[in-house]
Symmetry: C2
Subunit: 234 residues, 2 copies
């Protein structure tokens, strides 16, 4: 049973405050984000990133221990790109709702991030700042102690679970441009044994998929908020 010394990008000091020459961590992360946003998960490799920076692929390893660390750094940036409402100004319900919607939009804007959600604790500075606000909202609502965490987990779990598939789906559509009619037919065919489901699938195909997803998200969001409210009165 070999236990390995645990290290994290967030605990180790980055490589000197930058004097002048060559690369920097920010520069690298920034370039990585551009590749990810424009070309998706598969668009980022150490070699491509090196090329984009006019540097050898292995130069990056001076600033970052490995690709996973680089991804952690990139991932945290997502949460800087999320509008949050200060719970001091407004009702906890409104600020929690804004939080959920903002989280969804941030993920949809950076679909590659969907594949990273759920790895090691999201303890980057931007992620911490965001979750701190959510916790404030639930404290204001009346939750205490560990229930603050439970409530926050419930909301974020819902948003993640709802948005991850949506983001992955969008990325798939963009990358592969699949034949949509064929896909719909495939789904209808697969569901053939379940007439109830088949009717529902056809009903969904009659609407704009974007709209359906937005409605579905809001339905669940208010469901979760109602449920949380119920926990408060008892």
């Amino acid at each position: 049973m070999v236990t390995k010394q645990f290290t994290s990008v967030w605990t180790r000091e980055p490589r000197s405050p930058r004097s002048s020459p060559g690369l920097s961590r920010e520069q690298i992360v920034h370039a990585a984000l551009e590749l990810l946003d424009s070309e998706g998960t598969e668009g980022l490799s150490m070699r491509k990133l090196g090329a984009k920076l006019d540097a050898g692929a292995t130069s990056i390893y001076w600033y970052v221990a490995n690709k996973d660390e680089l991804m952690e750094l990139a991932y945290d940036e997502i949460w800087a790109d999320m509008e949050v409402a200060d719970p001091d100004q407004i009702s906890w319900r409104y600020s929690a709702a804004t939080f959920g919607k903002g989280m969804r939009q941030a993920i949809l804007r950076h679909p590659w991030a969907a594949r990273l959600i759920g790895r090691l604790p999201a303890i980057g500075p931007n992620a911490l700042h965001a979750t701190d606000l959510l916790r404030k909202a639930f404290t204001q609502a009346g939750f205490r102690g560990l229930e603050i965490d439970y409530a926050a987990s419930t909301l974020t779990a819902y948003v993640f679970g709802m948005t991850i598939p949506e983001a992955v789906w969008n990325e798939y559509i963009n990358e592969r441009q699949p034949d949509m009619d064929g896909m719909r037919q495939a789904v209808v065919a697969a569901v053939a044994g379940y007439p109830e489901m088949q009717a529902r699938v056809e009903e969904m195909h009659a609407h704009d998929p974007q709209e359906i997803r937005a409605m579905s998200f809001d339905f669940g969001l208010y469901t979760v908020l109602d449920g949380l409210e119920a926990r408060l009165v008892t």
Copy 2:
């Protein structure tokens, strides 16, 4: 704009009903599952799978178009490994709760599956059978039309969002055996700027992590169910 013919493992006929010689799809999927369960996501490569089957790595491509398809087949098996309660016998609330807990356990039993959740529509036979039962429960509850889907999505999104990180975490612990104390210290240090959070993290470290997660899951599960119930009366 090149739209590619869409195909899926589930729509294409598998390679003949098997006469006698060599490999078969079931055999391959079964071996893949064994590798995944015992060695995790990284334990499965086409070469390793070939070796396990005493065959060339590329023989597999006769039965399956590519690795993604193989993963889809393996992934669907997860939902065969999930206890479901027939909603005809019991209250919708109880059967939905059992469904959620069963889903969580199935994922925790096969943590590698966590990384596959949210890809192309889960339209494998086992997944369909399970979701059909959930839809029955919500129909019995009184939901109608698209709201049946919304309700089902809300519950499954919550379970996925809560369980994916838990499963990935478990896999990480098992594979890398990290130094737990060091990790805790790292988290406490990262959270230094947020005294409220720091207090909560320490409170969590004082309990059994498994227990905390189970309690957290149940809290959210009943929250979602309460929320759904609220949607019914209005």
